[in-house]
C-alpha cells in the first residue's frame, strides 16, 4: 500500500473541497528526482507540463490516440496522457528534454534535422521518443504486425520503411511529414 497517500479514501468521497485525494511522490525524470504533491487525477503528462515545466511532451488528443505525449518509461515508450503520475513512483522517465547528451543531440534529433522530418513540430517530441523506443524494441528483437510469421526469433529486428511505418503508427503528424520521419528513423536504424 502507498504510505504517502494523504487521503486513503475509506469513505469513498473526499470530505470537503480542498481535501482532494492527493499523494506526495518522487518522480525520476531525465536523471533528476522531483518530489511533488499531486492530486491523484494528475496524469504524468500534466505533471511534466504543469508542475515541472517540462513542456516538450505535448498534449494532442489526451486520449492515447495521437502519440504527441510519448515519453520513455524505464526505457519503453508510453503515452504519458494515460499514465497517472501517482502510479509512476519508482519509474525512470525520459522526456524529449532528456534525449540529448548535454549539447550533443541524440542521433534521432540529428537525423530529424538532416531530413527536415517535421513542419510545425508539434508532434516531433513524441515522434522522437517513440522512435527511440522503436530502436530499442528492434534491438531486443521485438516483432511487429508486419514482421513475417517465420522471421527468426531472438535476434534484432531489421527496420526497413515498412517496419518503421507500422511501428510508428501510434504517432500522428497532421502536417504529413511521414515520408521524412520514416527516412530519419531509417538513417539511425541502419
Amino acid at each position: 500500500m502507498d504510505p504517502t497517500s494523504t487521503w486513503e479514501g475509506g469513505a469513498g468521497e473526499p470530505q470537503a473541497p480542498g481535501d482532494l485525494p492527493s499523494a506526495t511522490l518522487t518522480l525520476h525524470i531525465n536523471g533528476t528526482e522531483h518530489t511533488l504533491t499531486l492530486d491523484h487525477r494528475t496524469t504524468l503528462l500534466d505533471a511534466l507540463r504543469h508542475h515541472l515545466d517540462l513542456t516538450g511532451a505535448k498534449k494532442g488528443c489526451d486520449h492515447g490516440q495521437c502519440g504527441a505525449c510519448t515519453v520513455l518509461v524505464d526505457g519503453r515508450r508510453a503515452n504519458s496522457c494515460l499514465l497517472l503520475a501517482v502510479s509512476q513512483e519508482g519509474s525512470r522517465i525520459t522526456t524529449v528534454e532528456g534525449l540529448a547528451d548535454g549539447d550533443r543531440l541524440h542521433p534521432l534529433q540529428e537525423a530529424f534535422l538532416e531530413r527536415d522530418a517535421f513542419q510545425c513540430g508539434y508532434c516531433t517530441p513524441g515522434q522522437l521518443c517513440s522512435a527511440a523506443g522503436v530502436l530499442a524494441e528492434a534491438d531486443y528483437g521485438h516483432p511487429s504486425h508486419v514482421t513475417p510469421h517465420d522471421a527468426p526469433v531472438g535476434v534484432p529486428a531489421r527496420l526497413g520503411p515498412e517496419e518503421i511505418r507500422e511501428r510508428m503508427s501510434g504517432n500522428l503528424c497532421r502536417c504529413g511529414a511521414y515520408p521524412r520521419i520514416v527516412e530519419a528513423v531509417e538513417d539511425v536504424a541502419s
Partner: protein
C-alpha cells in the same frame, strides 16, 4: 475526472481485500482504457487499487506443456515472448494487430481482457446507453452502428468487444484464473465474456472484487498451426471491423483439428463451433472452408449499415484456413 483514492497493492490478497472493502473500487492495470474512460466520465471509481506492479509479470511453462501468463505481463512483452511467437503465433499476431507500440507497452494481459467496448454511444455520457446506464436505451440500433455487432446482440445492446488478444485466446482454448473474496476459480476464455441479453452492463462473468491473475494456454495438439487475421479501416492502429483466429491440423488432405474464432462481430469473441463441426474430418478445400464459414455466419443478423462485416468475416476465415492448409 472525479476525485479518487489510490492504493498500490503489494500482493494479490491485499488487492482483493482492498477492492472488496470499498464499493466502487476498481483495479488499475495499465490504465490505457480505464484512465481514458475516467476522463470521459464513463467510469468514476472512488478508489483505484493499482495492481500493475503485482508480481504477476512472468510467462512460464506449465507441467502440461502449455504456458502460464501473468495478468500484468504487458501486451508487447507477451507478443514478443519466444514461446508465444513460436508455439502460439496467433496470439502474438493478435496482440501486434492491436493498438500502438506505446499502448502495448502499457496495456496488461488482464486489462486487455477487461477493456470496454468502443461503441461511440457508450463512450459519450451525453447519450443514452444501456451498457453504461441500464434502461436508458440503445441509440446505436438506429444510429451509428457500422462498426458494431452482427451476431449474438440483443434489443438492448449491439456493442462489440474490441480485443484482438481475446479472439486468439478463444481459439487457443485458454483459461482465465480469477482471485476473489471467495477464493480462486478458473473460467474458459470462451465463457469469460457474455452476450448482452437484457443486462449489457455486465461485459464478463467476473464477480465483484475478483481480480484476473493469470491466463493459461493449454498445449496445442501436435502438428497444428495457427494464425490471426484482421480487417480494419486503416493499415495499422485501428480496431477490427472483423477478425479471425484459426488453429488447424491437416493430414493427407483431411482436417484433423480445427478451432476458429471471430472478432469484431459480437459482444464477445465468437467461437465458431458450427464451422468447426463442418471442418472436422472434411477435406481441406476452399469449398469446405466456405461451407464452414457460411454455417457459422448463417446466424448473423446484420444491422442497416454493417452487412459488409459478415462478408469480411467469411473471406477472412476462408483465407486464414487456406493459408494454414498451405503451411501444414
Amino acid at each position: 475526472m472525479k476525485p479518487f483514492a489510490y492504493l498500490r497493492a503489494e500482493t494479490v490478497a491485499d488487492a482483493v481485500r482492498a477492492c472488496a472493502a470499498h464499493p466502487g473500487a476498481k483495479f488499475l492495470g495499465g490504465g490505457t482504457n480505464l484512465v481514458d474512460l475516467m476522463k470521459l466520465g464513463v467510469e468514476a471509481p472512488g478508489l483505484l487499487v493499482d495492481v500493475s506492479r503485482l508480481p504477476l509479470d512472468q510467462v512460464t511453462d506449465t507441467a502440461e506443456g502449455g504456458l502460464r501468463v501473468g495478468a500484468t505481463v504487458r501486451n508487447s512483452d507477451l507478443a514478443a515472448h519466444p514461446a508465444v511467437r513460436t508455439r502460439y503465433s496467433a496470439l502474438s499476431q493478435a496482440l501486434l494487430a492491436g493498438a500502438s507500440g506505446q499502448l502495448r507497452n502499457i496495456a496488461t494481459t488482464g486489462g486487455n481482457l477487461l477493456q470496454r467496448t468502443r461503441c461511440p454511444y457508450f463512450q459519450d455520457t451525453s447519450k443514452p446507453c444501456n451498457k453504461r446506464e441500464p434502461g436508458t436505451g440503445c441509440p446505436a440500433r438506429e444510429g451509428a452502428h457500422r462498426d458494431l455487432a452482427v451476431i449474438g446482440y440483443s434489443e438492448d445492446c449491439v456493442a462489440t468487444h474490441p480485443s484482438d488478444m481475446a479472439v486468439a485466446l478463444a481459439a487457443l482454448d485458454a483459461d482465465v484464473v480469477l482471485h476473489g473474496p471467495e477464493g480462486e476459480r478458473t473460467v474458459p476464455v470462451t465463457g469469460f465474456h457474455r452476450l448482452p441479453g437484457d443486462n449489457p452492463d455486465a461485459d464478463t462473468v467476473v464477480r465483484p472484487g475478483e481480480l484476473v491473475t493469470e491466463v493459461l494456454l493449454p498445449p496445442l495438439p501436435d502438428g497444428t498451426v495457427c494464425l490471426y487475421r484482421k480487417a480494419r479501416d486503416r493499415a495499422s492502429y485501428a480496431f477490427a471491423l472483423a477478425s479471425v483466429a484459426a488453429v488447424l491440423r491437416v493430414r493427407d488432405g483431411r482436417i484433423e483439428h480445427a478451432a476458429l474464432a471471430f472478432g469484431g462481430l459480437a459482444h464477445r469473441p465468437w467461437r465458431a463451433r458450427a464451422a468447426e463441426e463442418i471442418l472436422l474430418g472434411a477435406p481441406a478445400t476452399e469449398a469446405t472452408f466456405l461451407r464452414a464459414a457460411d454455417a457459422e455466419l448463417a446466424a448473423a443478423r446484420p444491422l442497416r449499415d454493417n452487412a459488409f462485416k459478415v462478408r469480411l468475416a467469411r473471406h477472412l476465415a476462408v483465407d486464414a484456413l487456406a493459408e494454414l492448409t498451405a503451411r501444414t
